[in-house]
């Protein structure tokens, strides 16, 4: 069954500060949407709100995911339902190895289905992990390292994609996955992500500042966000136009005041 992420008039605040001011967006499985916009426009807030971060409070609107009310679910339920967020700044988890963590992500899924489940066997998990690590060019030694602790920016991003490959979501949000990556790392990470999208018929919402990542991850749709709203939507051409002309024409068109 094909799943869609349907965002309707979503408003959200951090503390008393309203950030999202009415977002409407439909992302279906198999579609790639790029979300662009200047700093402070609310892109990451949208990502965190959808993932269920407790500091981001939805104040109005609705998000339907696979027919369910996403905003009613805990963060872990959202993930098990098939939503994935690749973090811009993944947290370090000292003392928990990447292997132990990935195994738990699989086992938590199995145990949610069947509380009696004993979890994936160690040999089966090893095979799976080796295969996915090879696909993303990750040194096998990383399996025994503590999650994201002392990882470089590029290593963290690769490991985010490795997690995506392991949990096999229906819809992925990639929050500035391209930030802090050199050109080789960007290529490996984006090609890996693109391959997963195609193999698993995933839908994706790719948040970025730059056209660069879109050379590898070809979007079907491009949306521009300003001041907590999506102000413009179009095809891949829109991203190129933005690269060429910047945001000023959009600010003028939509009467958005540039923040100091």
């Amino acid at each position: 069954m094909s799943i869609a992420l349907e965002i309707k008039n979503l408003h959200a605040s951090i503390g008393e500060q309203p950030i999202l001011k009415g977002i409407d967006l439909l992302v279906k499985q198999g579609e790639i949407h790029a979300l662009m916009g200047p700093n402070g426009s609310g892109k990451s807030t949208l990502a965190y709100t959808l993932a269920g971060h407790p500091a981001y409070e939805p104040t109005a609107g609705q998000v339907i995911f696979g027919g369910e009310d996403l905003l009613e679910m805990e963060a872990d339920e959202r993930s098990r339902a098939g939503l994935f967020l690749a973090f811009q700044y993944p947290a370090a988890v000292p003392g928990v190895t990447l292997a132990k963590f990935l195994r738990q992500t699989i086992n938590s899924r199995r145990q949610a289905e069947n509380p009696e489940d004993k979890g994936i066997s160690i040999p089966a998990f090893r095979r799976l992990l080796t295969e996915k690590m090879d696909m993303l060019g990750i040194d096998h030694k990383f399996a025994g390292r503590y999650l994201n602790e002392g990882f470089s920016g590029g290593e963290k991003k690769r490991v985010e994609i490795l997690q995506m490959a392991t949990v096999e979501p229906k819809i992925a949000i990639m929050d500035e996955t391209d930030s802090g990556l050199d050109i080789d790392a960007l290529r490996i990470v984006s090609e890996g992500a693109m391959r997963l999208y195609r193999e698993m018929n995933m839908g994706a919402l790719v948040i970025t500042h730059y056209q660069r990542i879109l050379d590898y991850i070809k979007p079907d749709y491009v949306h521009i966000m300003m001041d907590g709203r999506i102000v413009e939507s179009g095809g891949p051409d829109l991203a190129l136009k933005l690269e060429e002309h910047g945001y000023d024409w959009l600010r003028e068109k939509h009467g958005v005041v540039e923040e100091a």
Partner: protein
């Protein structure tokens, strides 16, 4: 009415068929015990641990032979630690040996591993030389003296010169009668190597129990000992321990302590680096909940130059439990080029728990590097959100985060099976 009497000392010694010299040792210790007042909060070392609620005389000594024969102990205790290498296994209930074996290889190498009473009977010269002479002294305090008078049961390990015992020794000291006075004495001679794991445990009980233990770890020149003392008594037990490790020239002592149980624990743990090149590492793992009270006094004493000590104690605290860690690094005059480190990190799982960290330095040499650190933290919500965002339920995420906090120390326990068991206890205590 007091139960710790001279008569009781004589009765205990007779029940153990002890030689006269040991009875004499006990009686001398008893005199010191009688002459030493019960510590109060006016004594510096006891400022944060109040014994008013302790009705000391209700315990009494453990007389040999009164051990319950039908005690039900967890099946995993007393098992061999590794599947490929047989070392030594010793299981005692209330100080009486119930199960014992030592591999032929180790026997052939001259390794002695047995209960302390067997050691007194069979190896009197070694016991006279090492028992409470070089490690813990009966004059160290009320509870050291009490132990000297009433010790019962425990573990003796002797590894002769240049013998490398390549399989672990595992000792389980189970308490059934709530009167436990175990003594561990490990002597690793010049150039020898060994691994010893002591597990102290009892079931939960209603009636207050007592553990008054001593641990002595004597590591010779160029010798190496890995020692793990793992305590999981019921929360009805009051524990008073004196523990000391000594390390000779270029020797190594890797000392791990895990504390999960007891109502109250007061432990004095001292590492003495006696000769140049000695290295000692002290690792502490503890998790308190309910009204548990844990008070640890640690000392790292650099008696010689070019010595290294490294202490890291990490604990998680829940509910109304309280943990005190008071650490001291001492460098004697002339102990140059030493490197001493001490750190205590506590994870507060509830606002109602309380932790006190009191590091200290007494340095009488000038070319030294001594550092200390202490930190109190809470669970990191960003970390938990990250784990949850991958489909892991909050409860599991909390368990992983707490296990992660302990993981680097847990890896210092040489056997994965034991690591997993302690992790299991931690998960149980998280609840």
């Amino acid at each position: 009415m007091t139960t710790f009497t001279k008569d009781a000392v004589e009765k205990l010694s007779a029940s153990l068929n002890e030689p006269a010299w040991m009875l004499e040792f006990r009686l001398k210790a008893f005199e010191i015990y009688e002459a030493t007042p019960m510590p109060t909060t006016k004594d510096e070392a006891w400022r944060r641990t109040n014994l008013r609620q302790l009705n000391f005389d209700e315990f009494g000594p453990s007389i040999n032979g009164d051990a319950a024969t039908d005690a039900v102990i967890p099946s995993y205790l007393g098992e061999q630690l590794t599947t490929d290498k047989a070392g030594g296994n010793l299981l005692q209930i209330d100080g009486v040996t119930k199960k014992y074996n030592l591999s032929d290889e180790l026997k052939a190498q001259g390794v002695i591993f047995c209960d302390m009473h067997e050691a007194v009977a069979q190896h009197p010269d070694l016991i006279k030389q090492y028992f409470m002479t070089k490690g813990v002294q009966v004059t160290e305090g009320k509870f050291a003296a009490l132990h000297g008078a009433f010790w019962c049961g425990g573990t003796f390990l002797y590894v002769p010169k240049n013998v490398k015992a390549d399989a672990p020794m595992h000792s389980v000291l189970w308490s059934e009668n709530g009167r436990t006075f175990t003594h561990t004495l490990a002597v690793v001679e010049t150039g020898a190597e060994a691994i010893l794991m002591d597990e102290y445990a009892s079931a939960e009980g209603e009636v207050p129990g007592l553990h008054n233990g001593v641990i002595e770890l004597l590591v010779g020149d160029n010798a190496s000992l890995v020692y793990a003392g793992l305590q999981d008594f019921g929360q009805n037990v009051w524990q008073f321990n004196h523990e000391r490790g000594r390390v000779g020239r270029d020797g190594k002592l890797d000392w791990v302590t895990s504390i999960m149980g007891t109502r109250l624990t007061k432990a004095f743990q001292t590492l003495e680096l006696d000769q140049q090149g000695a290295w000692g590492r002290m690792s502490g793992i503890f998790f308190t909940n309910g009204r548990q009270h844990l008070d640890m006094d640690t000392e790292q004493i650099h008696n010689a130059g070019d010595t290294v000590s490294d202490l890291l104690y990490k604990g998680a605290l829940k509910e109304k439990s309280r943990v005190v860690w008071q650490g001291m690094i001492k460098a004697l005059p002339g102990s140059q080029r030493i490197d001493g480190f001490q750190a205590n990190r506590n994870l507060m799982l509830d606002k109602t728990a309380r932790a006190d960290s009191i590091p200290g330095l007494e340095i009488e040499a000038d070319d030294v590097r001594c550092t200390h650190a202490s930190a109190v933290g809470k669970l990191d919500e960003e970390e938990l959100f990250y784990l949850m965002s991958r489909g892991i339920p909050r409860k599991t995420a909390v368990e992983m985060s707490v296990q992660g906090f302990f993981d680097p120390l847990m890896r210092r326990i040489p056997y994965e099976g034991i690591q997993e068991r302690i992790f299991g206890r931690i998960v149980e205590k998280i609840g």
